[in-house]
């Protein structure tokens, strides 16, 4: 399977099964419409006849030879050798927790999938003892996994500050003894950050995700305080300070775009201009009847905006600037292995979410969804059948994904989105798919542009 497309003046061919990315000339791009494996030694007469008026016959034959050579090398029209690995996608050890230390929040974000913090099930903070039980659960179910991840999430996790510190200390105290490493992360709105917390989080959290949507008016419209005033001015100086003191540790400033800011490249660049260089701005997840929701009607505008963003980033790089945009970040050489790409996010299998009450769900987006409570830390229950169901929710078992060129990049989409908007964890949510495909096309184009620029410099 190949996927070919034209963007920003480049003719790009992705070989889906090998991951090969090829820059081709117009003749090759046209010829690929007329040929398919198995390849004969000579270029098919039908293809030559179709293109003879436009291109030189001898050049077409030479072009055909190059295609055949790459096919024989396994980087073009390569075969699907991955299906066999689907069958071995068995339940894995649990290696990551989304720890909901707070089902309460000090903002009232309009688009919050957690129903402004409480996930629709009432405001509550996790106490340290429940957090320690969660750590014990993770360790007990982690098998041979060495790196164990705990993301402090909410609601707003800083509202459970003392519990966070106790939980971290508890986990750290056992690292040597159990021979495992904890990697803590936190997703925060920043309202409660102060110098003490910044210092602690920069020491203990391997990554922090700092929620800010972009321009002040965009941010304040969707992320107000409980009294209705905007939160932008409260958080921006704190985030700047935190990042300036963070050294080489990971962070992201992370925003959400909605129907209200379809010009979201402005928000990405606004964040860049505030001094941030690790930026993620992502489409809102919302029911179609919400006024800010992204629907089919917005798809063309969003696609155009992703192109605008990609081009602006490339222009910025030419001027010596650079930042990382999470959804355009792809390592075409040393990215995740094929097994990870088959299995996807791992929700409900190697990743679960735990609520303040100790309830276990497949991930943070499933919290409160009827029928998806997997167990409880209180009574020790855990639904291994549901775990097996999520383990089997890989690309090979998603019929629409099997035919999609992007399958090894999105890995079958977000299972929660699939369930909440398409009704089945195995059925991809069409709007997400289209956005994902567009982002991938832009991301690969950017790599092609960098490759071409480097070649041009060296010539």
């Amino acid at each position: 399977m190949i996927h070919k497309y034209q963007l920003n003046g480049f003719n790009i061919v992705l070989d889906v099964n090998s991951g090969g990315v090829h820059l081709v000339d117009e003749m090759t791009y046209a010829l690929l419409d007329y040929i398919a494996p198995p390849f004969a030694a000579e270029c098919p007469a039908q293809a030559l006849a179709a293109l003879a008026d436009t291109y030189d016959i001898e050049e077409l034959k030479a072009c055909y030879s190059e295609i055949v050579e790459l096919s024989e090398a396994g980087v073009l029209f390569s075969e699907d050798t991955f299906t066999q690995y689907s069958a071995v996608s068995v339940p894995s050890p649990i290696k990551a927790l989304c720890l909901h230390v707070s089902h309460d929040c000090n903002l009232r974000c309009a688009y919050c999938f957690a129903a402004t913090g409480d996930f629709g099930v009432g405001r509550k903070l996790m106490d340290a003892e429940m957090g320690k039980k969660a750590i014990d659960f993770l360790v007990a179910n982690s098998g041979d996994r060495v790196n164990l991840e705990v993301d402090f999430f909410g609601g707003e996790p800083l509202m459970s500050w003392n519990a966070v510190k106790e939980i971290v200390a508890y986990a750290r105290s056992m690292e040597k003894q159990i021979g495992k490493r904890f990697r803590f992360t936190m997703t925060t709105n920043g309202m409660l950050l102060d110098d003490e917390k910044i210092e602690y989080l920069n020491e203990e959290m391997s990554n922090v995700v700092l929620s800010i949507d972009g321009r002040k008016e965009v941010h304040d419209k969707m992320r107000p305080c409980p009294n209705g005033t905007g939160s932008y001015d409260h958080i921006l100086p704190k985030f700047r300070k935190m990042v300036s003191l963070r050294g080489t540790k990971d962070y992201y400033v992370r925003g959400t775009f909605t129907k209200y800011n379809l010009d979201f490249s402005e928000d990405v660049f606004h964040l860049y201009e505030q001094g941030f260089d690790q930026i993620s701005v992502e489409p809102v997840v919302a029911a179609a009847d919400m006024p800010y929701a992204l629907t089919e009607a917005e798809l063309s505008a969003i696609a155009a905006e992703y192109e605008t963003l990609a081009n602006r980033m490339l222009e910025n790089e030419k001027k010596g600037g650079k930042f990382n945009f999470f959804h355009f970040s792809i390592d075409l050489n040393n990215g995740p292995c094929a097994i990870k790409r088959l299995r996807g996010c791992g929700c409900g299998n190697d990743y679960v979410a735990i609520t303040p009450e100790g309830d276990i769900y497949p991930c943070h987006q499933f919290v409160g969804v009827e029928g998806y409570r997997m167990g409880s830390l209180v009574d020790g229950s855990f639904d291994t059948e549901m775990k097996a169901k999520f383990a089997a929710a890989h690309v090979g078992n998603k019929p629409e994904c099997r035919e999609c060129w992007a399958k090894f990049y999105c890995s079958g989409g977000c299972n929660a989105n699939n369930y909440l908007y398409a009704g089945d964890i195995l059925k991809p949510y069409g709007i997400s798919c289209k956005l994902q495909q567009k982002r991938l096309e832009c991301a690969i184009m950017m790599q092609a542009a960098r490759f071409a620029a480097k070649e041009s410099e060296e010539a």
Partner: protein, 46 residues
């Protein structure tokens, strides 16, 4: 090659044979939390 330039190593099939060690980060822990983004994760195999 004159007509085609390959810009990467294209070795996805090879990674299947020795992959699946699970040392890498769970993708939703990195930044997304609302969308599945796997291909931008790092391989952490020793």
């Amino acid at each position: 090659m004159k007509h085609i330039k390959t810009i990467n190593k294209a070795q996805l099939a090879a990674t299947a044979k020795k992959g699946g060690c699970g040392k890498c980060q769970a993708s939703c822990q990195s930044a997304c939390k609302t969308s599945c983004t796997v291909a931008n994760q790092k391989c952490e195999r020793d």
